[in-house]
Symmetry: C2
Subunit: 447 residues, 2 copies
Amino acid sequence: MEKKIILRDDEMPRQWYNVVPDIPNGLLPPLDPETKEPMGPEKLGAVFPMGLLEQEMSTTRYIDIPEEVLDIYKIWRPVPLVRATNLEKALGTKAKIFFKNEGVSPVGSHKANSAVPQAYYNMKEGVKRLSTETGAGQWGSALSFATSKFGLECKVYMVRVSFEQKPYRKSMMQTFGAQIVASPSEETRTGRKILAEFPDTPGSLGIAISEALEDAAGREDTKYALGSVLNHVCIHQSIIGLETKKQLEIAGEYPDVVIGCCGGGSNFAGIAAPFIPDYLSGKKIRFVGVEPSSCPSLTMGRLAYDFGDVAQTTPLLYMYTLGHDFIPPGIHAGGLRYHGMSPIISALVRENIIEPMKVHQLECFEAGVLFARTEGIIPAPETCHAIRAAIIEATREPDKKQTILFNFSGHGLIDMASYDKFFAGDLHNYDYPEEAIARSMANLPKI
Amino acid sequence: MEKKIILRDDEMPRQWYNVVPDIPNGLLPPLDPETKEPMGPEKLGAVFPMGLLEQEMSTTRYIDIPEEVLDIYKIWRPVPLVRATNLEKALGTKAKIFFKNEGVSPVGSHKANSAVPQAYYNMKEGVKRLSTETGAGQWGSALSFATSKFGLECKVYMVRVSFEQKPYRKSMMQTFGAQIVASPSEETRTGRKILAEFPDTPGSLGIAISEALEDAAGREDTKYALGSVLNHVCIHQSIIGLETKKQLEIAGEYPDVVIGCCGGGSNFAGIAAPFIPDYLSGKKIRFVGVEPSSCPSLTMGRLAYDFGDVAQTTPLLYMYTLGHDFIPPGIHAGGLRYHGMSPIISALVRENIIEPMKVHQLECFEAGVLFARTEGIIPAPETCHAIRAAIIEATREPDKKQTILFNFSGHGLIDMASYDKFFAGDLHNYDYPEEAIARSMANLPKI
């Protein structure tokens, strides 16, 4: 059989899939952070364009992908589905392992799948400028790329510690024409307040979100963009799973298990959601969402309404959370360091459709190195989590004939410093103490 | 029409093309550096395996690609041929611009196309370990990847200045399991001698080649590998042009001009050579080889026998050269900083089949930024040279309907520091003074 299954441009799906109407018992609506009442599009419209809000609230299963978005997707999509034959051999497993290679995007990760439509809908409604935050830098690079395609300005608040440690990410965004500032910055009220109190703070995603939101709220020409968690982001990412289904059909295969790493949840939702209708029709298929032991929202968090940021300015989302003031240790998979989880993934865990799994940092890097030396592609630290889980599944019963599918969410070429630290023995495993999680969860908002 | 033309795995060419028998007036043989007599495989066999030497000397047009090499090529090949529609729009040209995206390889460049067969033929003949040099790091990463696939050890002598400035390249090689040392090193006679005399030297490709050769000559289990210049490397790279021809046929297109950047010449030979038989049969097609003004071997050098390294240890090659002791300024396209040029490209320039063109560094980075903001992919500094030439061709007569093809030899995600310097205004143009070139050329060996 073929090593890769490739789709031609005209075989790319022309609609996204929205899993929301298929979630048993549905989703609870976001709440207004002040009134604690369900929040409608009118108030959210201050920071998001209507085109995206309609998707956020949508209960339609299939949503047309605009031609202009398809045109840009075609720069790199459809992306290959690859059989990890060399990894299988190295593991001595009878399982077939397939991975969807989202690393071939111009910015090296799946984040571009949502950045492009987000920039598009904003452009279409006359927005001139987008503000956003970025932690590890994957989302910031993707939005910088996407805004450059639609002639929008882009302002990225980049968590200070990443701003200093990841100069290549900053350079990428600059090359695409974006403006980047270390967060906390002197440019917002929130930033100035925090700097006055903690001049040496390394920053956090929570602070950066607050700054980007304040920026968008304060300017007529600007809206805000978020790279994960929300429904519309998960909808855009469904292109991953929709393509994969077509490719598996060509290969005459069907997965026994679908695996993805979970930070905010969008890449996993992207590969898994399009298989949910089959599951609901009785097909035997498992879904495994993999999170770091150091930030175990699905395995140790609580399903509750919580804020998306430390400053408590976002709408309240009903999700698995460790508490909005939970600060995970500085593990190297920066994209997985988020206290909450997409409401869609949370609901599918609640319904026992998705099985959460937590893994340790060191075994993830070991898995990543094995993958690089067998399949040739160096994975992003986040992606190593999915690979680790695929290895666990493939070796638990090595003689079992099964088909394992995981999402290769991005390559690690711009994050090699993490591998350096791994080889130098400077990385450690973290199991977050239950007391610390309990302490943070005591601060959940009272609904 | 489609944005990308994609081939499926089973459409990948199964033979390489060797242009040597089609070069009018042929090639002159390499000479023994001591006797100045033509050099046969017996002496070269000390550093290269017979499988590669047979290709080096071959006058066969088509050479089978071993199954084991095809299997690894399939990790990323066939690679897309993409129409640069967004760049065309930005330029306001009626030309169609196509690029072959070699940046999707696991190491981000075309270098893997030759690294894989080189590792394979060495493995097949029982070699346990390969030594090589690397400047910018592209070749060293590619060989590290390839040796990891065939269970060989790999030792990379990396020019010290790059070793210090490009930590991510070093990390990549380490992840693939290679050993890397800054050159000059304490590990070879040549290295120790130079360090004793110049303890602060930044190193050079010439020194690193000498160290890698000394390493291979001194150990029974070790052979040497070179990433460009030689015939067998150009043969391996022909996969680029062979795939492209198939893809253009699917698109119903034929190029009026084929463009590539030229350092040692292998990526340009790879895309151009498979079109040479058409040219010789009377097809109207131009070939443009692009080099930096700071290292203008084709446009200002001389066609003569010269050494491949500063230490005068390699065979003498008949090629366009600026003199083996020519030291180009530290431009950021490290892959183009070589005093010589592949004998194959040199002969095709001599026959007026290839037109050489030189371009300045700053206009290349400008072209690269425009490409990133239109087509979304950040090019390697070397690749920016090909893009610049494509832009020149497309805008000279913007209303002319023509088809331009260039090789996108690699992405720039691991070399973003060069873009930083460009944006900071720290880069400059260099026109190498004719006296300096004349001085270096006065030292050509007397044949």
